[in-house]
């Protein structure tokens, strides 16, 4: 993240620090005046900023919630009610934290779909994409463990079902689950280690996201045309052009978050989680949070335990291979007439899986879930490689500025 031309700062303190630790120029070269950015980035490129905001909100509210929460099976449920009723603004911290998780995932999923539509994962940005998928996996683990902490019925049974996924591992499955639980079932020791890791992992996400930004800045962001910026004419400085653009999106994200927090704080939660954890009573229908539903549907659509667990893991792990499964050399779906349609069918398929994940695994939803699961994997393993092979992409423009200016070449000449 270093580099860029040496800048002379007027402020003496800034100059003193800059000489010893060039942090001001590093920031300017990352999100400031010295970061040349393709000038055609649309609003779908703003989700990275929203994700950063969401991470900060989660860490900030989480630290203060942890000052009042008790990670013990006998007291956890009551301590959450204590936060809601007795702690000053405790209700606000908790509702922002709970709904902030949904904001985080919504932004992450749009961010990922942006990458899939515009081919952001293609060379030379494969590692950038892979680091992003690593962040997604850590996010999922963090969100799952956080959901367990209130120790309601859904918390307890989500913990039971998900930790039991590991019991499908041949030979050592039951030893691994006993080790994960710290006992013979989900209980206080499990809750306490989940709390410890739930506190740790957001900071790991923070660290890995710095690697993500570092990798991003080696080759710069892609853009809606999917062609590289060639000249100064194709770029604008990140600040103030994109800082101001992304600020407006951050404002919109905060409005949406505030709507949920203040008007529908429980819209995305389950009534069963208002019942304290009871190891003797499984709720009639265990449903995860909305952001896990598509993957849960894949898990449940397989009639075999180990097979279900393998497909569940594969549905996320396959994202790691995406840069090599997509054989097309054209990045942006704008110039890919066939892939474009398959992209939207894929989005629809994931939404269908999400609906199936919330239904009882019987009858029609089970059948639809199985078909949607097959399509999910077919998209990656069959459609992407073959479409890239037979599709005839539309001609790419010579440069980013060419289609924008009436005559890009003429403008270049005039400038010279």
């Amino acid at each position: 993240m270093a580099g860029g031309p040496a800048r002379q700062y007027n402020n003496r303190l800034v100059r003193w620090i800059e000489y010893r630790l060039p942090i001001f120029s590093a920031v300017e070269a990352t999100i400031g005046r010295d970061m040349p950015t393709p000038k055609n980035l649309n609003y779908w490129w703003s989700l990275g900023s929203v994700l950063f905001l969401a991470l900060i909100i989660q860490i900030a509210t989480g630290i203060f919630l942890a000052m009042h929460y008790i990670p013990n099976g006998a007291m956890a449920f009551d301590s959450v009610e204590h936060i809601m009723r007795n702690v000053n603004h405790g209700w606000l911290l908790r509702y922002v934290h709970a709904n902030g998780a949904s904001l985080f995932f919504a932004a992450a999923y749009i961010h990922i779909l942006r990458g899939m539509y515009y081919g952001s994962y293609k060379a030379p940005r494969e590692l950038l994409w892979i680091i992003g998928v690593v962040i997604l996996v850590i996010m999922m683990a963090t969100a799952f463990m956080g959901y367990v902490l209130p120790w309601g019925q859904m918390s307890f049974w989500a913990a039971t079902v998900i930790t039991n996924l590991f019991s499908a591992i041949p030979w050592v499955g039951s030893e691994i689950t006993t080790w994960l639980w710290g006992g013979f079932a989900v209980d206080s020791p499990t809750l306490q280690r989940f709390f410890s890791l739930h506190y740790l992992l957001p900071f790991v996400i923070f660290g890995v996201s710095l690697l993500h930004v570092w990798a991003l800045h080696v080759h710069g962001p892609t853009n809606p045309m999917g062609i590289s910026a060639r000249s100064k004419q194709d770029t604008v400085p990140y600040h103030p052009y994109y800082t101001s653009k992304y600020m407006s999106v951050i404002g919109l994200a905060l409005i949406i978050l505030a709507f949920f927090v203040f008007y529908e704080p429980l819209f995305l939660s389950h009534a069963d989680n208002f019942i304290a954890a009871n190891p003797l009573q499984t709720p009639p229908n265990i449903v995860p949070e909305w952001y896990f539903l598509p993957f849960y549907a894949i898990l449940r659509s397989v009639p075999d335990k180990l097979g279900g667990v393998i497909l569940f893991g594969a549905s996320i792990a396959i994202l790691f291979l995406l840069p090599w499964l997509d054989t097309s050399r054209v990045r942006s779906a704008r110039f890919r007439p066939t892939y474009r349609y398959f992209f939207w069918i894929f989005v629809l398929d994931v939404i269908v899986l999400g609906w199936v994940g919330a239904q009882h695994p019987e009858g029609t939803p089970l059948l639809i879930g199985r078909l949607a699961t097959i399509y999910y994997f077919a998209h990656f393993i069959i459609i992407l490689p073959f479409v890239g092979w037979f599709e005839r992409p539309r001609p790419l423009p010579e440069s980013i500025s060419k289609p924008v200016l009436k005559s890009g070449a003429a403008a270049t000449e005039a400038a010279e």
């Binding site: 049974w157 039971t160 079902v161 930790t163 039991n164 996924l165 019991s167 499908a168 006993t178 080790w179 994960l180 639980w181 710290g182 006992g183 013979f184 079932a185 209980d187 020791p189 280690r193 190891p279 003797l280 009573q281 499984t282 009639p284 229908n285 265990i286 449940r300 397989v302 009639p303 075999d304 335990k305 180990l306 279900g308 695994p361 019987e362």
Partner: protein
């Protein structure tokens, strides 16, 4: 590994040997240092100490099913009727997903004792209380992912891979068992 001027033949030098030995020692040391951290997550002594439980069977009527807690897990005890015993015994083992004779799952045919945790993903199957779904085989039904167990607790239909687990137990008198 650095090639030095002394490095003439096929054999490694003393320096290579020291390099390999030091790396190996460091790796073993790291492994030994990690183990206490990993092992600290295994069940602690107080958890292990709660490992046995005595249950008095005398008050359980024929046809009644009760649930007791053992090692924080529910244990189903079923005082089976003659009809259910016959159902459990007259099954062709060939049609079972996890073939096991009823006689191998009980010590006395009228008492069926098993851990009441679905072998799929750990939910508690229904069928213990009057009015709950007992599945297609008069046994237990898991609502989470739709597994059906028969009157011997064997998996008959659904995603669960194996029969409900029979815990270690012994009759310490005619009407008392000790779990664990």
């Amino acid at each position: 590994m650095a090639t030095t001027a002394h490095d003439k033949g096929e054999e490694g030098t003393r320096r290579d040997f020291i390099f390999v030995a030091a790396t190996a020692a460091a790796a073993v040391g790291a492994g030994v240092a990690v183990w206490p951290f990993v092992n600290s997550m295994n069940p602690s002594r107080d958890v292990l100490a709660e490992a046995t439980l005595e249950v008095d069977l005398a008050p359980i009527e024929e046809g009644q099913r009760i649930t007791v807690m053992w090692r924080k897990k529910p244990v189903f005890i079923d005082h089976r009727s003659a009809k259910r015993i016959a159902e459990a015994q007259n099954v062709d083992l060939g049609e079972l997903k996890d073939p096991q004779a009823d006689a191998d799952r009980v010590q006395k045919p009228e008492w069926l004792v098993m851990v009441g945790i679905c072998t799929h993903l750990g939910c508690i199957p229904q069928g213990q209380r009057v009015g709950e779904r007992q599945g297609d085989y008069d046994g237990w039904f898991c609502p989470c992912h739709g597994s059906h167990y028969d009157t011997s607790g064997r998996i008959r239909k659904g995603p669960a891979p194996s029969n409900l687990e029979v815990p270690p137990y012994a009759f310490i008198s005619d009407t008392t068992i000790q779990l664990g």
